[in-house]
């Protein structure tokens, strides 16, 4: 798992340090207030937004090669969305108080508005779109299945049992409208997470108008890479044929998305260097010292440059399909490591230097406890388990899977 790798590397870096901090730190800066759980939160919401944007490409922009993973992307987005706010609740404690956000909305606090952003995205976008997309199947399953399953699907259909051509047409139409609303909503969801960091003007590592945009594109990158991994793994375990056209399209999109994301991050970096504000020297020291492994090695080299080059070769070079699949898989895995490091570098990096700009501290990760490594592993495994259950309830694979793959290959070849 990407986070374990990064964490291990960090543990090694920390052990290698002869002391915890250097230079001058204010007393309240020794310990980091935002730990591993806050790293996981933007990572998970990024996966949600990315997976949804990928699904919308098939629906709105008619990228037919992505047909085999359309439903899988929606379910993945839902599975990760359910877990996304939990790291925040675990970090804050008193999870029951989160409902206060709805009862007494504070319109001037970006953090307090999260409840509404989340509720909108979950209920109006994801659940509605999945419901409209699956309704026809749900009605069919409610007729075919027996016992509890029958009643379960009947309840899930909400009594809308009509499968007349008009009804199905209406489902498709609504699905499309919701996707169109969903795209800006997905941008809002993850742009919002970036906005939270970007608007903290007292912190020179975070305070940048580019942060929401960089977050958004890294979300798209991580979402595409996630779907590539999930598609390959699920197909392998089901002993089914994989659609090379779909994989190639995913690889291509991932390649373009990484390029844009990397360019934006480079732009941010050059902009900071050129501006050379008073914080630049401590930030440079932090990058070359505390964040060297997670930023230079994990994020830039392993998580961006290596996957970018290998994806470029695999997609546009003449490689046999078997080798291509392996390259895609490894590249997507590395991208996950890279994006997790990006979140790590933003969240942890922003707290490693003193506001006096004269010292650096060290993040000491807990293993147990609410904010520890094991809790984080739990939050990262939970969406996979939820996705497993969701695919059992709402199988995203067409009954005539081979025919769909054949059609997809044909359409793509014809183009």
């Amino acid at each position: 798992m990407p986070f374990t790798l990064i964490s291990l590397l960090h543990l090694l870096t920390i052990t290698a340090e002869s002391h915890g901090f250097s230079g001058y730190m204010y007393p309240n800066e020794y310990e980091l207030q935002w730990g591993l759980l806050i790293v996981v939160y933007p990572y998970l919401t990024g996966l949600v937004a990315g997976a949804f944007i990928l699904a919308s490409l098939e629906r709105v922009f008619k990228v037919s090669a992505l047909r085999p993973i359309y439903r899988l992307s929606l379910l993945s987005a839902l599975a990760f969305m359910i877990i996304a706010p939990l790291p925040l609740l675990a970090h804050l404690g008193h999870p029951e108080r989160c409902l206060e956000m709805f009862l007494t909305p504070h319109t001037k606090s970006a953090m307090a508005m999260f409840g509404f952003v989340y509720a909108w995205y979950l209920s109006v976008v994801l659940l509605l779109e999945i419901w409209f997309d699956y309704r026809e199947n749900i009605v069919r399953w409610s007729n075919e299945k027996r016992g509890i399953k029958k009643w379960f699907y009947k309840a899930l259909s909400l009594g809308a049992t009509s499968v007349s051509p008009e009804s199905i047409k209406f489902d498709h139409k609504m699905g499309k409208i919701i996707t169109i609303i969903g795209i800006p909503s997905a941008f809002l969801l993850h742009g919002y997470v970036g906005f939270i960091f970007g608007s903290i003007k007292a912190n020179p590592w975070w305070s940048s108008v580019l942060i929401p945009i960089v977050f958004l594109f890294s979300a798209i990158v991580s979402g595409i890479a996630l779907m590539l991994l999930i598609y390959m793994i699920t197909t392998m375990f089901r002993w089914k044929q994989i659609s090379m056209a779909c994989l190639n399209k995913l690889g291509e999109l991932l390649f373009y998305a990484i390029m844009i994301d990397f360019s934006l991050e480079l732009l941010d970096f050059i902009h900071r260097l050129y501006e050379s504000e008073e914080s630049i020297s401590i930030l440079s020291e932090m990058i070359s010292n505390r964040l060297f492994v997670s930023l230079i090695v994990a994020q830039i080299i392993m998580g961006t440059l290596v996957p970018m080059v290998s994806l470029g070769i695999a997609r546009f070079g003449r490689l046999p399909d078997e080798l291509r699949r392996i390259v895609y898989f490894i590249a997507a895995l590395l991208v996950q490591v890279g994006i997790f490091s990006t979140r790590w570098n933003v969240v942890i990096g922003g707290q490693l230097f003193s506001k006096s700009l004269r010292g650096l501290t060290v993040y000491k990760m807990e293993l147990f406890g609410l904010e520890g490594l094991f809790m984080t592993i739990l939050f990262l495994i939970a969406p996979i388990l939820i996705l497993f259950v969701l695919t059992k309830i709402l199988p995203p694979w067409p009954s005539d899977e081979k025919a769909v793959i054949r059609d997809t290959e044909k359409v793509v070849t014809a183009k």
Binding site: F21, Y24, L103, T104, S123
Partner: protein
């Protein structure tokens, strides 16, 4: 519009969303306290509730009214900025009934290090000690009067004020080198450190005392040609004198 012309899917969804909105409105009616929002984004009654709590702290003015002899001493000391209740604890009871209640006073060794225990983020010159090494077993009050904590005589060791440097030097090869080997310390620096500064070395000869090729020092000490080593740089441009093994 006829009800039959509305698509079937719309009806249950409308009901669910309507129920959710009604539930939210009802929950707001029932759960949001009446006084919420009167002054700002909080429960206005909370202000009165907090105001109705028993007062614990009397405040420095009340202490000063009776204990003017101590105020006089404290006013001349480095503790002049501290409020009495920082060390003595909440003393409103004592202010209201001086004979009935006596405020506590920390007399052991645990309390003073809260401010004076070594912590590298504290400013240079702020008196800091390592409690385990600083006169172990003795209560702070044995030597220091808390109302005028400066000792009648100057500190005996540089580490009393320069604790961070002393701690760094302690783990380096320079641990046995006395500060005065390299620094010239005027006598008045001990009693008035901010007005009279200790002097730092200005040329290579200071390091050369031990590290020059012909220096009269133990053979184990690394030697260099003091004239040519490092070109035009001074020794401390590359070596941190308090921890020369560390890389800059």
């Amino acid at each position: 519009m006829k009800l039959s012309r509305i698509p079937q899917q719309v009806i249950p969804l409308t009901i669910i969303f309507a129920l959710a909105i009604v539930a939210l409105v009802a929950a707001r009616q029932m759960l949001v306290p009446e006084s919420f929002g009167k002054y700002g984004h909080y429960r206005a009654d909370a202000v009165e509730e907090v105001a109705s709590h028993d007062i614990s702290y009397a405040g420095i003015q009340v202490c000063n009214d009776c204990h003017d002899d101590i105020v006089e001493v404290k006013q001349e000391s480095y503790h002049r900025g501290l409020s009495c209740e920082v060390c003595h604890g909440p003393a409103n009871n004592h202010a209201e009934a001086p004979d009935e209640y006596t405020p506590g006073a920390p007399r052991g060794r645990g309390y003073c290090p809260l401010c004076h225990g070594y912590n590298p983020s504290r400013p240079v010159g702020f008196p800091q000690i390592l409690p385990k090494m600083h006169n172990p077993g003795k209560a702070c009050m044995t030597c220091h009067n808390p109302h005028a904590p400066t000792l009648p005589h100057a500190p005996e060791e540089c580490s009393a004020c320069h604790r961070e440097i002393a701690s760094t030097k302690m783990v380096s090869h320079h641990t046995t080198v006395d500060c005065r080997t390299c620094h010239t310390v005027p006598k008045d620096h001990w009693s008035d450190p901010r007005a009279v500064h200790a002097e730092k070395p200005t040329d290579r000869s200071t390091c050369g005392q031990c590290h020059a090729t012909g220096a009269d020092s133990p053979k184990i000490i690394p030697r260099i040609d003091i004239e040519t080593h490092g070109g035009r740089y001074l020794c401390w441009d590359c070596h941190y004198p308090h921890h020369p093994e560390a890389t800059l």
